[in-house]
Every structure is written in structure tokens, then in C-alpha cells.
Amino acid sequence: MGFDWAVIHDNLPFLMRGLWNSVQLAAITVVLSFPLGCIVALGRISRRRWLRYPATMLVHALRSNPLILIVFWFFFLVPILTGRPVGDFASVLAAFVVFFSAYFAEIVRSGIQSVRRGQLEAALSTGLTYAQAMRFIVLPQALRSMTPSLATECVIVFQGTTIAYVVGMREFLHTTFLVTERTMRPVELYLFAALVYFVVCLAGSIFARRLEGKAGIPR
């Protein structure tokens, strides 16, 4: 049996549209869930119980559920709650942002806790407020120590976009699957898909390495 790579060439525009959807979903998810995760993380480490308890519960609840369930939840619940259809992309995006903010929160929390407590105290002792101390002293240092885990999480988000398939969103794997069904060329198409995921993730980790270099602090 010979390979027939033309099948990829012929369906490239369709496949690339799927890839674009995946990339968009992943990128917007990261851009929204990271800041949200920072807020949740601050709640997790707060001394105030009325902040800490709900934040902790939220994180545990989200992390104990599979992403696919959250996606279903939003797909069926959001239209009921809002009273109108929101479209598959919007509902999947909402599910992703909520789900991954819990994971980002845990990364941010451990990043913050890797910064010596004395740093916060030094900042407070010079008259900075807690928020200012976090913003100018603790978070910049935390960010540096968490860059590797953040990069890994971004890759996981991108791979996670395949789950959007279950509610019919045309992400990359979905479009690959559709083409496969039509052309009966699974080997070429799935090899191609593997290559694409590999390249995107590689690009992501190279980008992260560059960022890490920029955030580098002489010690």
C-alpha cells in the first residue's frame, strides 16, 4: 500500500480552518484563564476565610472533573441559563476558561509560595499595601519560577482543544476526522495530524524558552 499525500494537499484549506479554530480556542483560553487563575490563586492563599474557602472549593471541584464533562455542562447549561443559544465556540471557550483557570491557579499559587516570605514582609515594611507588594515584588519573582509549568500547561490547553469535538466544534482533529471519513486515508491524515500537533507544541516551548530568558534575573 502506497502513501497518497495528495489527500492532504487537496484538503489543506479545510484542515487549516480547523487548525485555526483550535489555535484560537487555545490562545483565547490561555489569555483569559491565566489572569483569572492569578485571582483565584490570590484567594487560595488569602488569610480571609471568605476568600480562601470558596477559591479552594472551586479549584478542587474543577480539578476533580474531566474537561469533557465541563464542556458538556456548559454546552447544555449555558443556553438554559442565558435563555438563548450561544454557539459551540462560545460555550466551549467558556468551559475551557473556567476549567483551565483552576489549573493556572495552582501553578500561580505554587509560584507565589516559592517566593520567600521575607520578600513580602520587606515590601510591606516599607509601606507598600498587600496588593502593591504582590504586584511589584512577589508576582514578578513568582512568574519567573513558574514559566516552565506555564509553558507545559499551554501545551496541555492546546491538546485539550480536541475535546471540543464532542459538541461538534470544528477543531483540527475534527476536520481531520471528517476528511478521513470522506477519503478513507487515515494513515496519511493522522500522521499529518501528529506532525501538526508536534510542530505547534514545539513552537510553543521554544517561545516559552525565549520568554524565560527575558524574565531571567541575575541572582
Partner: protein, 246 residues
Amino acid sequence: MSDPLVSIRNLGLRYGTFRALEDVSADFSRGTCIVICGPSGSGKSSLLRCINRLEEFQDGDVVFDGASLRACRDLPRLRSEIGMVFQHFELYPHLSVLDNVTLAPRIAKGKPRQEAEETARRLLDRVGIGDQAGKFPGELSGGQQQRAAIARALALEPKLMLFDEPTSALDPEMIAEVLRVMRDLARNGMTMLVVTHEMAFAREVADEIVFMDKGRIVERAETARFFSAPTAPRAREFLDRILHRL
């Protein structure tokens, strides 16, 4: 002595059920340098940390410059009037020395950058590291780092300086340069509370010595008298040990 800068009144601090400070009372006048000593775990750091409320005490009160800390609603403002120097410097590793010194004046006090930098350079000169302003803390020696930390605290023009074992993390050859800066500060009339085991410094610079044990002040005396004839047996024992150690 009618108007002390710091007045500690029946202060009590607990960590859980452990009593770190018990019924501590003391007044400290403006312009004096007080050395606080005592065995490890006696509550020296805790006492300093109560004075700028890094530690929340349960009993009693501290009155700073006429205002009750217990009633204080604006902690950042209070803290900006009290400089603190830590055993491990706690300079911000991601900021240059200059930015370490200017950060709080700019952020907390809203000073324009240029003004803050002028003040910072003057202070860095004063502690003898004016030429290190552009470096990062990690590129400085321990003694230079601690002097930068002192400059950072001074940048807010504090009325009181708290030192918590400022030289214990330093190599012997760097201790002197930090103590020299502290001595100059004291000579220039800064009110200082210094936790230290440097008894030579205490003898030379301190006006009074406070000796703590098990969360209480067990002795307080003028420096000369403390060294010649400490009354509390615990203080005598401690002095013997620390003076004859080397």
C-alpha cells in the same frame, strides 16, 4: 522622657497556644539607640515585628509617635515611618539596587521618579555603595547588600529604625562595614532598636540594653551598668557566655 517615640504596653503575642511575648512593657525615647539581646527564641524578633505590626498581637498595645497601633487603620502609612532591616537583607532580586531603594517612595508615597532617585543616590553614597546603584542585589557582597537594605529603609525618612540581627548572616570581614553605617545613624540621632549579638557594638553605640528571656523583658539598663553589673541572673549567664565565647 515625657514623650517616648515608642511605648509598649502590656504587649502579649501568641502563636497558636504558644506565648511568644508576655506582658511586655517599655518606653523608648526619641534619638536613643537600644540594643535588644537574649537567647534564641526569647522573642526579640517577635517584639520588633509587633512594632510595625508584621505580627498581629493579641494583648496590650504599642503606641508609636502618639498613635495606637491597635487602632491603626492605615498600616502602610504607619510602616512607612518605621524602617526595618532583616537578617537576610530581603532585597528584591529582580530589581536594581537603585530601584530597590526608590520603589517604596515612588509607589507608596507617590514621589516622582527623579526626586526618588536623587534621594536614593544620596543614601547609597551615605552607606558607601554609591557606585553599585545600577547592579542587581545578587552581584553585591553580603555587606553591600545589607547596606543597600539600610538605604532602602532610610529612603522613607523613617522616625524609627528596627534592625533584626543585621549582621548575623554576614562574614566577619563584612560585619564592620555594616556596623559602621549603623553607628553613624545612631550618632546622627536616629531612634534605633537593634537586635544583635555584637556586644562590642552594643557597648560602644547603645544608650541602653534590653535583655529578654522567654517572651519577657527581664532586664533593662544603661549600657555601662548592664555590662559591669547585670542584675538578672539570666542576663549575667548570657553575658558570660557571649563575651567569653570567642
